[in-house]
């Protein structure tokens, strides 16, 4: 499987976005900052997993992107609900 120049640029840009989000995850002053960064990273990974399916030319990998996309939402909601407990 070869990669064309445009696809190479796309992969590089995805990695750049991933790196920025990861930096925000490490730096973020408050916990919600880090949760937002983790959520963004999970969405980027969902797109990236679909891209891996295209790279391997095999549609079975799309199921993983689907499961990841739905369950990362559940995890984010759980963390956000735990943050909300701070209201007293």
């Amino acid at each position: 499987m070869t990669i064309s120049t445009l696809e190479f640029i796309a992969i590089a840009l995805l990695l750049v976005g991933m790196g920025f989000s990861a930096i925000r995850l490490f730096l973020g002053p408050t916990t919600p900052d880090r949760v937002v960064a983790a959520d963004t990273l999970s969405v980027i990974t969902t797109a990236g997993l679909a891209g891996m399916a295209a790279y391997f030319n095999n549609p079975i990998y799309l199921d993983i992107a689907l499961v990841y996309g739905t369950l990362a939402f559940v995890g984010t909601v759980a963390i956000a609900r735990a943050i909300e407990g701070n209201q007293k």
Partner: protein
């Protein structure tokens, strides 16, 4: 050993995760961090087990649309890791329940304090003097439990 060899990268990830997990278990004193360390160690071990039969260029062990690939990945370690991950959830749930129980019983999750209180309870139940702890009270920092000092001064 080429740094951009894919085998090197994957094995480094597995060993790195295991090392970080062991480090978390050994160094930290907080029960929650120890549980995090256990999860990381387990993840690294799973990755290492899966990589033991990894071969670059193999395809997934699933037949799609009837065409059989030339070389397929080994399904046995995949099934083992599948089992291991699911059992890991059971371990995690049990560990978290026990952590909640420890918090209720002792009011803290710091393992040094928990250990100290446990020793006190045991010695009180046996009706003997507090045995000399393996860790000196000075090491505990700002949380010396009062009864230790009382026992020392009283005896």
């Amino acid at each position: 050993m080429d740094i951009l060899d894919i085998n090197t990268i994957l094995y480094s990830a597995a060993f790195g995760l295991m090392l970080i997990g062991i480090g978390g278990i050994v160094i930290s004193n907080h029960l929650m961090r120890i549980i995090f360390g256990i999860v990381l160690l387990e993840a690294g071990a799973n990755l290492l087990l899966l990589l033991s039969t990894y071969h670059e260029g193999a395809s997934a062990p699933i037949i799609v649309d009837g065409n059989v690939p030339a070389m397929m990945a080994d399904p046995v370690p995949q099934a083992l890791v599948l089992t291991a991950i699911v059992i890991g959830v059971g371990i995690l749930a049990l560990a978290l329940s026990l952590a909640i129980r420890v918090q209720r019983a002792y009011g803290t999750l710091d393992m040094r304090e928990v250990r100290l209180k446990l020793e006190q309870e045991i010695s009180a139940a046996a009706g003997i003097d507090m045995p000399s702890s393996s860790e000196k009270p000075a090491d505990i920092g700002e949380v010396p439990v009062n009864s230790v000092v009382q026992q020392e001064s009283g005896s």
